[in-house]
Amino acid sequence: MNSAAPAEITAAATDQQSLAEIARARWEAFKGGEVGSLPVIVGIIAITIFFTAKTNIFFTAVNFSNLIGQMAGVTVIAVGIVFVLLIGEIDLSVGYVSGIASVVVAEFQVAGSSHDYPGLVAIGLALLVGAAIGAVQGSIIAFLGVPSFVVTLAGLLICQGMIINLLGTQGVIGIQDHQINDVANYVLTKNTGWIVAAVFTLLLAAASFGTYVSRRRAGLPTGNLMLTVLRVVFYAGLAWAAVAVCNHYRGVPLVGLIVLFVVVLFGYLASRTTFGRHVYAVGGSAEAARRAGINVKLIRILCFVISGSCAALGGIIFASRLNSVDLTFGGGTILLDAISAAVIGGVSLFGGRGRVSGALFGGLIIGMISNGTDLVGSADWIKYVTTGTILLAAVTLDTIARRRQGAAGR
């Protein structure tokens, strides 16, 4: 099919296409296995409709604010998982690494102890510990070639053991430090919320139209300008709507801003920098990357450092949310929720495909299910079965997409 069309080389076939033509091309790509973000959007809408019909608390400003707080930790951890999945590895330790970070951040603010540091210092130390655990695990995987599944499974057990050891005598540490507690509980003033939405819109527009202008200047096909405008309007609209809903209650939670910042920062890193390009290359073909002179070992280690750091930030958010740390931290469904969020968000388990923003949308779906089932008063088993089913569907979709793409090429 490809060789039958000896057309002139163009940078992007979408140059002079109308929106209708683009839509048709997308539909063709969809059938070819490029499902994109459609399943996620459909999923979010379906879940919203379902729970709104079931309970009138679900679709309210109060619950939206709550939802942001509930999904924040897992979403941030999922961002780290995205990088590990992109290089075709897995990190099973993130749950208990987040637990370790919770304990560390709580320990370094204990009033009257020899290590009573300001909250921000404790937060910094917790992030460092997470990064260090990621660096150690990543080094073992990169230098010794031990499968990441086993290394991080061992990491999971070791971290769990360390949490029990650290909390052993008292079993719980309360957090009095305001800076730490503000992470998950501070609410921005309404005007600050609007400013955040405005800044977000400006950055988004600058990035999108910057790309447009630079391509135009270089004489490259730019794609349909309307589509660029629509995309900016859509995402900016979501941001303004989210702020409006939050302001209807108490205002935008700081933790929501933290999640957005993490997603945008790491999204930028993945899609617009050499490091991100190399991450995708290692996930696509580690051997090709190595022969191209990419330091594959370093990329692997850095991805696990990112994973560990994000897990630590998630742990800090969990600790801040409850104003204390106990023996249950790091366990439960944190690990599986975070991996599910990334996979549901369209990140391939086979490496090389997916976007950081997927963690946000996947995290939203996981958070909505958990939040909704709690509101409806369903038994826990329903929550697990639902999440499991959606995860299975996402992985199946990924596998089918991969097979279709393999069939479409060559």
């Binding site: 080389i9 163009t10 940078a11 270089a218 920098t273 696509g284 990419i294 393999g406 479409a408």
Partner: protein, 261 residues
């Protein structure tokens, strides 16, 4: 035109010369004192049976394997190559048999893999990369690729091979190794790639063609080096030899006719 290039080339020092290269993996000796040379503007074929050491020789020159012993001379001066980046810095590029492309990345991303154009903050400069990719493909008369922003996974075998070759010449390279470039291709696509090989030599590059296919070799090569059991059997000029003699050299290893001039 190729003729004149070759005659003038033989008067100069070889662009790349290997002397007495040895390399073993544990008890297996892949190379036992192999000699090899290639000059600007010529297509040098490297032939030999399976296990003759062709791939090992390439990987040594590409910096993927370190050599145990022997000498690598680039334009007459001895060099040591540690890693793909150093090979690239000298202008030595290798197009591998299994292509070494990332299926999930598009044509531009593959062309610049590991050598992306970026600013001081490591932000990618996409527009210049895309422009030069299009220019390079055009200069090599690769016209079948519709969009340089489509993933390599969607390309045909010949198109993938073209991308791999184009990547090798993007970097002002001097010596290009092509490892079995036509092995997996159909008739028309083989034609495309062989034309591409000739064009590289016409542009003054030193081209090394590694192939099992003697028909291909006799079509494009100016000289032929035969490798057997990790040693060079000899160097033959295409116009003064025939397939039978080469087959004889590959299988039985007749003594060198013209020991590397």
């Amino acid at each position: 035109m190729i003729q004149t290039a070759r005659v003038s080339a033989t008067a100069t020092t070889p662009t790349l010369k290997l002397r007495g290269l040895t390399k073993s993996f544990g008890s297996v000796q892949a190379l036992r004192g192999a000699d090899f040379e290639v000059r600007d503007g010529e297509v040098m074929a490297l032939v030999g049976d399976n296990g003759a050491g062709k791939s090992t020789l390439i990987k040594c020159v590409a910096g993927i394997y370190s050599i145990d012993d022997g000498e690598v001379l680039f334009e007459g001066r001895p060099v040591s190559i540690h890693g793909p980046k150093e090979a690239a810095r000298l202008g030595i590029e290798v197009v591998y048999q299994d292509l070494a492309l990332c299926d999930n990345l598009d044509v531009v991303q593959n062309m610049y893999l590991g050598r992306e154009d970026h600013d001081a903050l490591f932000r990618l400069r996409e527009a210049p990369m895309e422009l030069r990719t299009i220019e390079t493909l055009k200069s090599l008369a690769v016209t079948t690729i519709r969009s340089v922003r489509q993933p390599v996974a969607t390309l045909s075998g010949g198109q993938r091979q073209s991308v791999a070759v184009a990547r090798a010449v993007l970097w002002n390279s001097r010596v290009v190794f092509l490892d079995e470039p036509t092995a997996a291709l159909g008739v028309a696509q083989t034609r495309q790639v062989l034309d591409l090989v000739k064009r590289l030599a016409e542009e003054g590059l030193a081209v090394v063609l590694v192939s099992h296919n003697l028909i291909d070799v006799f079509e494009v090569a100016d000289r032929i080096t035969v490798l057997r059991l990790g040693q060079s059997v000899g160097v033959y000029e295409r116009d003064r030899t025939n397939e039978q003699e080469i087959v004889q050299a590959i299988t039985a290893g007749t003594p060198a006719k013209e020991a590397s001039a």
